[in-house]
């Protein structure tokens, strides 16, 4: 789990500067969304965001469905005792808790390193936040 959740090394993800935005975009009445959406910085942000959340969603859904299907169709396997009266089913159930917490922790870490700085950069260059 942690292997997949490991974020990119800090150094490899410096915020990509926002290009293609005229000076008027910063001072116009509203931000120029069309320019932002096509900018390199925004494309990079979207890519970083989706590259993490889509595979991770697929992963936890698959792992949950595996567990559900085992519980429904392989109760014998789930009933195998590991130690004392603790069964495989119980351990797998608790592992669902563990994986949920691990994915949450992994995402928060990834977002802090790879997403938040990029968002801050785009907001700053769009004139929403002061530098």
């Amino acid at each position: 789990m942690t292997e997949v959740a490991r974020p990119l090394p800090r150094a490899s993800v410096p915020p990509v500067p926002l290009t293609g935005m005229g000076a008027d975009a910063r001072h116009a009445a509203g931000p120029d969304y069309s320019a932002i959406v096509d900018s390199e910085a925004f494309t990079a942000l979207r890519k970083r965001f989706r590259r993490y959340v889509f595979p991770m969603t697929a992963l936890f859904l698959a792992w949950y469905l595996t567990y559900v299907l085992l519980a429904a169709y392989a109760p014998g396997f789930m009933g195998v005792r590991l130690t004392g009266s603790v069964t495989i089913g119980l351990v797998l159930g608790v592992l669902q808790f563990v994986s949920t917490i691990a994915i949450t922790w992994g995402y928060v870490r990834y977002a802090r390193r790879a997403i938040d700085p990029q968002v801050a950069q785009i907001r700053q260059e769009a004139g929403v936040d002061r530098p």
Partner: protein, 527 residues
């Protein structure tokens, strides 16, 4: 001992502890209710809550009486299969964390309708969003209020239907008062107080139980199996859903609805607007995941503990059936005082969850229907808040009437059904509108109405409504659809309908708004 707990415990003590909770929360509601005139204050508490506060409140919204009493009871009586609910409810939060919370916070202001109508034609999409919000909130609320009657009988010793109706009415009136005076700010504080009480309570019970079994999970499980007529079967899946192919498929269907429904529940979505930005929305989910992990693991111990110490037979034959597992266990280990606390927490749970649902329903009607459909976006804030308060009173009154009428009916399925509705109608439209450029108004309407409609139709023709001794109409039989939970059919149907509706329509959508939404959802620019 158990005889006493079964009938009443100590009604005076139970009422006193509950009264203390109401007094404390009323004090809080009054204290925070100074600013409630603007729409942002009333609907979203001005976005002033921190992620941690909102995370606890989120778990308060999510951990309904069905979670607390229902799951502990299901584990006590049916063993492992009760635990399966807990897992679905928890893992579901990853959908919120990864795909929904931050984007929804950035895109919308007050309601789910804000997000899905952002780049669509306002009126039809807002109408669809409001319909779905009201339907889901009403089903969810009915389940909470109907459970209140049984709880009254169990904990206050009120057995007559008339007496129970009066208690349901009092609970409903207190709830309406919270919403009217406190708005979202007050309602959130009620959730925070209630969720903290609930979690402290279950953690203390869990530590005590573990101590009693020498901190050996295995000993606890052996004890549970020994005092359950199902014996060792409570340690493996299947006691509840393992009967035949249909029941297994029903379980898979339920699991899908649970995991995909949480992110589409309107009252959960609305909570993300009570924090100032997407970062705090993320923190909200982190706190919610943390507190709910603790809660659901504790319920596992409490459920098996109740079976071991009270006995599954005693629980199944008591006044409140499965719902009485946690209260009976509390009486067994802590006497009337602990039972009083658990009883108060259970009542507080119903009160707080219904308050959260009421404010959601009233916000959706006032903001989506009144301000944006009837007034076409030109409503002034005071009149919009007035409409919201008025709607809250109407919704509250309906929930009281519904609760009294549904009292004693088998309505536990309504919670699972609300999740199926949310997963079918809301999740598909939310995900498409956040992630699929091409998605348009036709697709939105198709996905929503097909999801809602197929869910409703399948339930009407399911064994929940007719054909079984446990059905609403046991004498009739038009149960052509064999599953109790429609999720496995209605969720894919909604996704497919949204896809086809989009491609089959010539509507290319509003490109500028699409770009704005994309930027706004990811960066918060313009939010």
């Amino acid at each position: 001992m158990i005889e006493a707990a079964q009938s009443t415990g100590n009604p005076v003590l139970n009422t006193a502890v509950f009264g203390l909770f109401v007094a404390l929360t009323l004090f809080l509601v009054f204290k925070v209710s100074t600013r409630n005139s603007s729409t942002s204050d009333y609907y979203a508490a001005g976005g002033r809550f921190t992620g941690a506060q909102n995370g606890i409140a989120l778990s308060g919204d999510f951990l309904s009486a069905a979670s607390f009493l229902g799951i502990a009871g299901a584990i006590a009586v049916n063993g492992y299969d009760g635990f399966l609910y807990s897992i679905g409810f928890l893992v579901a939060w990853l959908v919120n964390l990864l795909l929904i919370a931050e984007l929804v916070r950035n895109t919308g202001r007050f309601t789910m309708g804000d997000v899905i109508s952002f780049r669509m034609r306002q009126r039809p999409v807002r109408a669809a969003a409001a319909t779905s919000t009201l339907v889901i909130s009403f089903f969810y609320m009915l389940a909470q209020m109907a459970g209140a009657g049984g709880l009254v009988a169990l904990l206050l010793g009120v057995h007559g239907k008339g007496g129970q109706a009066i208690v349901i009415m009092i609970v409903g009136l207190v709830m309406i008062f919270y919403v009217l005076v406190g708005g979202m700010q007050g309602t959130t504080w009620v959730q925070i107080v209630k969720a903290s009480m609930l979690i402290v309570c279950v953690v203390l019970m869990t530590v005590f139980l573990l101590g009693k079994f020498g901190f050996s999970i295995s000993a606890l499980l052996d004890g549970a199996a020994e005092h359950n007529p199902k014996g060792d079967k409570v340690l493996t899946p299947g006691a509840l859903y393992g009967k035949n192919g249909i029941s297994k498929l029903d379980f898979v269907s339920l699991s899908l609805a649970l995991i995909l429904g949480a992110a589409g529940l309107p009252h959960v979505l609305m909570r993300f607007y009570t924090v100032p930005n997407a970062g705090q929305a993320r923190r909200s989910v982190v706190w919610a995941v943390g507190s709910m992990s603790v809660f659901y693991l504790a319920t596992l111990v409490i459920g098996y503990g109740a079976s071991a110490l009270v006995g599954a037979d005693v629980i199944a034959n008591s006044t409140g059936k499965e719902n009485s597992a946690a209260p009976l266990l509390a009486f067994e280990i802590g006497g009337p005082l602990l039972l009083g606390v658990v009883a108060a927490v259970a009542f507080a749970t119903i009160l707080a969850v219904v308050a959260g649902l009421t404010i959601t329903a009233s916000a959706s009607f006032a903001h989506d229907v009144y301000a944006n459909i009837i007034k076409k976006g030109n409503a002034d804030a005071p009149s919009e808040v007035r409409v919201a308060r008025l709607t809250a009173v109407v919704v509250g009154a309906l929930s009281i009437i519904g609760g009294i009428m549904a009292n004693g009916q088998n309505v536990a399925f309504l919670v699972a059904l609300a999740f199926a509705f949310a997963a079918s109608a809301n999740l598909s439209t939310l995900l498409y509108s956040l992630f699929w450029k091409r998605f348009n108004t036709t697709g939105t309407l198709w996905a929503m109405y097909t999801g809602l409609g197929s869910c409703l139709l399948l339930v009407i023709f399911s064994p929940v409504v007719s054909g079984k001794s446990t059905s609403i109409f046991p004498a009739a039989s038009f149960d052509i659809f064999p599953l109790s939970n429609p999720g496995i059919v209605s969720i894919p149907v909604s996704f497919i309908a949204g896809f086809l509706g989009t491609l089959l329509s010539k509507d290319q959508g509003d490109q500028a708004r699409q770009k704005e939404m994309e930027v706004r959802s990811l960066t918060g620019i313009g939010a």
